[in-house]
Point group: C4
Chain length 256, copies 4
């Protein structure tokens, strides 16, 4: 057998050939408190964004996920879009982040390469900022590569605080921001909802969502997130009163 | 010395140039309770399947295995085939699964690429479903990407149970199913025998084998697996009565 | 979507097209006691070296770092240069070293490939030599690939001591020295300041800096490092008197 | 800056352009008890084999080693040769084995590719077989891919024992044997000296060396290994009488 091509490390399979204009890219991947992914998933559903592409990669786990009916699907990242006269929106979300440093870079690079073809002009990445305690009203902290976008979101309540978060932002929320600016000339901000970081955190996601709804002028009602917040609060209350490890495991999936 | 090609990450060496038609691919690799591999090895021997190809890869351990005579063979994966008028059968088995995520994807991709040339139309992957306790009569659970194949195997006793197994299927049994469907358009099912997961489990493999024999209309007698089941049961009984770690180590090879 | 190029593993982005002549390459990366990086950063600032290039790589962490104003920058390595009639100087420094063995080799190889275009004739790598205790006056130990450079720096006080350090030099300080000689024919020395290795060590860096200032005839005053030395000494004194883990964490960044 | 080639994963740099005929390849790398490397190093020196090539690779550690004079050399693997009318000999040895599975395969593949150009007809790999206790007279066990070579070395005292060693041979000693046979059609044997595996073991190496000297008709006197055996025995005796961890560390380098 002759020498054949090996699997591409990142495979983007377009499922729609729509032409987008003046787009903003929203990146919401699994991560701390799952804040970014909850926010992206909520908005995709709320504004009825359409599927644009599947992203498969050997940098994701070698795994299928099953729905409750036992239908299996290969783990993936996904792109969605929403056409609007104010400028189109592209969402990037997924089941997992790349497993290695190289994996994270390669997936990010390929998605940004596609983004330039989708006329993406700005990037907004979403994440959680772990503070190790529960907050009544989580703040939304920001990091930026563009002063202009920074000032716009600052007016909407995003806090750019000295040395908060210190150190850096690791993973997709940081990498899309940094690589977007450096290698593709795309300015952006990262919005981080404060979260205990101990479980999936819709309360933090709600604050991030509100900022995004304002910024993108979506007019979406975020009240439907309250139900999910109540569920999580009920579970955490039960856990505090009756800390059974079995229940914890069943009720609180990280990717829930 | 000039720049020369480096070793391909996956090398498929054909040992037979047979032309196959209307094939089904059976994937049985080492894994939980070794259920998939026992099933595949048993059927390959029972129906006298012939060797089709060797698969070598730097994603497998850098190791030789020796037979009892000290003859050494490089670790590998292998393809076997059986020509039949009802449609041909291709088996994929091996000494190890790929060591990394990338390794699992690359081996799977190359084998599926070959599968399309072997006129493979459906995929059946085999594995164990770890339940952490011994079962008198292990059930066979299923996951699917094709409703049609699902319904066929359901009639033969495969259980498609809500949220069982939850989460996902990791490794070759999941990956061939998911990648087969997504990247090669090949529908399939995964058959998982319940197993304690503590040792190699021919009893679970027997249940999976029976389903496969029915589904593929092989007419194979699975009674010869009973001898192996008895061996394992004798060992586990001895272990429960006299739990000597030395004996455990000698008698119960994972890849046995 | 067609098969597109994947991200290069190491991307060197030139920011200046200066033509350099008869250059020496100074390598000062994060490492033991951060001695190499402190030295390189101090000299770059003192002699007002100019930015030459950014080096991005998937071998670096997938991360942005933020300044205190929350401006985010993708982690990177950097090249600086200083034109001089005595021969030009190129500095190589950065936020991190490559995360894996392959990463270290690939970054080093690409930078040395560029170095040959910058007319680099000699390499001086900088690092710390961990001795596990505080020293009043840290010595500067050397390793070499060129007898000529060895003799020059020996006259300036660098100690080439039998079996000190034993074993070898791991990371960029070793690799640029060894690969420079073997694959690019560039002779050099490695200068290692003795350091406890427990925290960032400007005192050790000062001794290395003095040697470099002499060797390169820079005439730079190293007194401004004393302030930084005092800061670290104050912190270590406080830590000895009052070992609070919180303070330790806040005050003593490894990359400080 | 344009897209440039990245570092080859394995770089073989020829230092002699000798034409070899009817060669045997001896593989002696660092490993269990260092048996393979001691044997190869001893023979290279005894029969005054000449340097043929250096092998550099990003699969080796990013490190330089220093001689006692502080002269640094990049870690490497090396090929040596000896021309003889009975057939030429090629030795492969080195400072380290590849750090990963992929690294071991890629280095082995490139060296075997070169071996075919050096008219290599047979492969003999050397290693230690860890038995966890000291032996007065270590046996030499064998594994083979060629019945012919097996029978030849069996006559010289190599033991091909049922299920000894069980399992397999991991690392270069196994890989060169298996890959040589499967991918390059080169038959061979692996000679394994019994060793406690606790420290570098010249006594075991001596037994392996004797077999090789006989097999290759070298007529080399192995008595000079006795001095080294005595050194190690003195150290182990001292360690048993006075088990000071410091001394152990100083005296017993694994790669000694």
């Amino acid at each position: 057998m002759g020498r054949s091509e090996k699997m591409e490390s990142v495979i983007i399979r377009m499922v729609d050939n729509v032409k987008l204009k003046n787009s903003v890219l929203i990146v919401g991947l699994p991560g701390i408190g799952n804040v970014g992914k909850i926010t992206a998933d909520f908005l995709i559903e709320s504004i009825k964004a359409k599927k644009l592409a599947d992203v498969f990669s050997h940098h994701l786990p070698p795994q299928v996920l099953m729905n409750e009916d036992a239908l299996a699907r290969l783990v993936r990242n996904e792109l969605y879009y929403k056409k609007r006269k104010e400028g189109d929106i592209v969402f990037f979300t997924g089941d997992f982040q790349g497993l290695t440093s190289q994996g994270q870079y390669e997936i990010c690079y390929k998605v940004l390469e596609l983004a330039t073809k989708l006329d993406v002009k700005r990037i907004i990445t979403l994440g959680g900022y772990q503070i190790g305690k529960l907050m009544e009203l989580p703040r939304v902290l920001g990091a930026y590569t563009s002063k202009e976008v920074k000032e716009e979101v600052e007016k909407l309540g995003v806090i750019f605080s000295k040395n908060e978060p210190g150190g850096g932002i690791v993973g997709g929320a940081g990498l899309f921001l940094g690589m977007g600016q450096e290698l593709f000339g795309l300015p952006g901000v990262c919005l981080m909802g404060e979260t205990s970081g101990y479980f999936t955190d819709p309360k933090s996601a709600k604050q991030v969502t509100k900022i995004l709804v304002d910024y993108l002028k979506l007019g979406t009602d975020t009240a439907s997130l309250d139900e999910r917040i109540k569920e999580i609060e009920d579970i955490t209350t039960r856990m505090i009163e009756n800390p059974s490890p079995e229940e914890r495991k069943e009720d609180l999936g990280y990717f829930g």
